[in-house]
Amino acid sequence: MNAPIPENIPRAQQVISVLWPSFLVAIVASGLFFSAFNPVELIPFNLDIDISPLAAYSIGFFLFWILAIVSSTGTLYFTISNCRVLNKQRR
C-alpha cells in the first residue's frame, strides 16, 4: 500500500460519510424489520403506552439509524487513527 493515506478529511465530509451510509442502511433495516413485525404488537401488554403506528415506525427507523451511525463512526474512527499511525511510521 503505497497510496497516500488521507487523515485530514474535512469535518463536514466526515459527518456526511457517517450519516449518509447509515441512513441508507437504516431504510433497508426498517423495511426488513417492520415487514416481519408489527410495531404495535411489539409493545408489551403490561406497558401502558399509547403510541401511533407512524410514531412507532419513525422511532424504529431512528433507532436503526443510530445503531448504523455508531457502527459507521467506529469504522471512520479506526480508519483515521490507523492512517495516522501508518503515516507516522512511514515518516
Binding site: 485530514n8 419513525s58 503515516n87
Partner: protein
C-alpha cells in the same frame, strides 16, 4: 509537520469546494433532458393525487400495514415482491449503464432532477451565469438581499411542497391537506414533511454536484459496468487539438489549429464543473449539456457539429461497434426472466391466506362420545379487494369430523377473520400419536381463491 505532509500527500482529493455556476444551454439534448425532468417531476407530484375507486391509487398505508399500488394490495407477507422489484431496479441500472452509460445520472436521478428544478428557479430570479457570479461577489445590499430572499422563499416553498407530497405517499393527501389547514398535523407527519423538505432544499439548493462526487455509491462503481462499446460523452482531441482562439470564419488548418476554439463554454455549461476535454472522468454525469454548448459554438463558427458528442470508446478509435455483446445479452436475459417470473407470480398470487394455530393449552381432549378432539384457532386473511364467503373443510384422518359454528365464513375485503374450530376423530383411526391434517379454504364465488394449510392432530397414541 505531520499535517503539512498529509496535505501535500492528498491535496486534490479534498480541495476546498468552489461554487459552480452552470451556464444555460439550449439544444437537442437539453430539450430531451427537459422532457425527462418534467415527466419525472410530474410523476412524483401527481401520483398521490390519483384515485383508484374510493381510495388513493398509490398509498403506502403504514398503520394498516398495506401497500396499495393501483389495483394491487400488498401485505407484509408480500415483502418478497418489494425485494424482487428492488433487484429488478438494480439489474435495469446495470443493463442501461452497460448500454447507454450514465444515462440515469444525466436524465433521471432525483438528484439531477431536483437540482435542475432549483437551478431553474435560481436562473429565473438571479439571472444568467455572469449575473449570478457578480451577485455573489457583490457585498450585501438591500437589492442583493431582496433577490436572495426571493430565491430562498421560492426554494423553501418548493421544498415544502415536495415534503408534503412525500408524506402524501403514506397519509392520504386529502386527509393530509385537511389536517394542514385545520392545523392538526401529527408531530411525526410534521417532522417528516420538514425532514424531507430540508433534505430537498439542502441537496438541490446547496449540495448539488457534491452529492454525485462524494455521496453517490453508483458514481463510484458504475465504471465496472462500462466496456468499450458503452455510450459516453467525449471530446474528440484529434479533431479539436491544437485548440486556440481565432476570428470567426477562420479555416482551422490555415491557422494551424484544430476545431476547438477554446471558448470554455463546455466547461461553463458543466453542472459538475469539469473540463470534458480532459477525457472521461468519474465526475461526468453524462448530462450532455456540453454537447449542446459545443454544437452551438460549432454552428456559429460554421464548423461541423460533434466536436463533443455521444460516442463509444471503440467508435472514437475507429473500431467497429457492437451493441449486442455478451454482457448486454446476459443482463437482458436475467432481466427478462426475472420480469417474467415476477409478472407470472403476481398474476397467480392467491389473495387469501390461512394461518392455523393449534390450541397449546391442552394436547387433546375426549368428547362424551369417546372421540379425540383438538382445538384450532384459524386466522383467515382476505387480501382481495372484494369481500368473500369461504367454505372450510378438513381431511387427513378417516372418519374425522370438523366442527364449526358457521357453514360459510364471511371475510371483509382486506381484513383478518379469526375463528375457533374443532376436529374430532376416532382413536381407532389414529395411526400415530401425531398425524397431519389439512385445512382447505375455498371461496364460494371464486374458484381460484383456494388455500390449503397443514396442521398437527395429536391423540393419546397407540400403546
Amino acid at each position: 509537520m505531520g499535517t503539512q505532509q498529509a496535505e501535500t500527500e492528498a491535496p486534490e482529493f479534498y480541495a476546498k469546494h468552489k461554487k459552480i455556476y452552470p451556464r444555460e444551454v439550449s439544444g437537442r439534448f437539453s430539450r430531451l433532458r427537459l422532457i425527462s425532468l418534467l415527466a419525472l417531476l410530474g410523476i412524483y407530484y401527481l401520483t398521490p393525487l390519483l384515485q383508484w375507486g374510493d381510495r388513493q391509487a398509490v398509498l403506502f398505508d403504514l398503520p394498516a400495514r398495506k401497500f396499495y399500488i393501483f389495483g394491487l394490495t400488498l401485505w407484509p407477507q408480500d415483502f418478497i415482491y418489494l425485494a424482487a422489484i428492488l433487484i429488478l431496479a438494480g439489474l435495469s441500472l446495470f443493463f442501461f449503464t452497460a448500454l447507454l452509460g450514465r444515462v440515469w445520472c444525466g436524465y433521471a436521478c432525483p438528484q439531477t432532477v431536483w437540482t435542475e428544478a432549483y437551478l431553474w428557479m435560481e436562473r429565473k430570479i438571479e439571472g444568467n451565469r455572469s449575473r449570478r457570479m457578480k451577485l455573489d461577489k457583490a457585498p450585501m445590499s438591500a437589492a442583493k438581499f431582496r433577490i436572495k430572499l426571493l430565491k430562498h422563499t421560492a426554494w423553501i416553498t418548493f421544498s415544502l411542497w415536495t415534503g408534503l407530497t412525500f408524506v402524501a405517499y403514506f397519509t392520504p393527501i386529502d386527509v393530509l391537506i385537511g389536517k394542514l389547514f385545520s392545523a392538526s398535523l401529527g408531530p411525526w407527519e410534521t417532522f417528516w414533511i420538514l425532514f424531507y423538505s430540508f433534505a430537498t432544499y439542502g441537496n438541490a439548493g446547496f449540495m448539488r454536484e457534491q452529492v454525485c462526487l462524494y455521496m453517490c455509491p453508483y458514481a463510484r462503481f458504475q465504471s465496472a459496468m462500462f466496456d468499450s462499446d458503452t455510450l459516453i460523452v467525449a471530446y474528440h482531441p484529434e479533431r479539436g487539438e491544437p485548440r486556440g482562439s481565432r476570428r470567426r470564419g477562420t479555416e482551422p488548418k490555415s491557422a494551424g489549429l484544430g476545431d476547438c476554439i477554446d471558448c470554455n463554454v463546455c466547461v461553463q455549461a458543466c453542472p459538475t464543473g469539469i473540463d470534458i476535454r480532459d477525457g472521461l472522468q468519474y465526475e461526468c454525469i453524462a448530462c450532455s449539456l456540453c454537447i449542446d454548448a459545443c454544437d452551438g459554438i460549432m454552428d456559429k463558427m460554421s464548423y461541423p457539429r460533434g466536436l463533443i458528442k455521444y460516442t463509444t470508446e471503440n467508435s472514437a478509435q475507429g473500431k467497429s461497434q457492437h451493441i449486442l455483446r455478451p454482457r448486454i445479452m446476459v443482463y437482458a436475459t436475467i432481466l427478462l426472466v426475472l420480469c417474467g417470473a415476477l409478472f407470472v407470480h403476481i398474476s397467480q398470487r392467491v389473495a387469501l391466506d390461512l394461518d392455523v394455530i393449534r390450541d397449546r393449552n391442552t394436547l387433546y381432549r375426549e368428547t362424551r362420545d369417546g372421540l379425540i378432539e383438538n382445538v384450532y384457532t384459524l386466522k383467515i386473511l382476505n387480501m382481495d379487494s372484494n369481500p368473500h364467503r369461504y367454505i372450510l373443510s378438513a381431511d387427513g384422518i378417516d372418519g374425522m369430523k370438523l366442527v364449526t359454528d358457521q357453514d360459510e365464513i364471511m371475510v371483509e375485503a382486506g381484513s383478518v377473520y379469526q375463528i375457533v374450530v374443532r376436529i374430532q376423530a376416532d382413536e381407532f383411526n389414529l395411526e400415530k400419536r401425531s398425524v397431519t391434517v389439512n385445512f382447505h379454504l375455498q371461496a364460494t364465488d371464486a374458484n381460484h381463491l383456494v388455500m390449503v394449510e397443514e396442521a398437527r392432530f395429536v391423540g393419546p397414541g397407540k400403546s
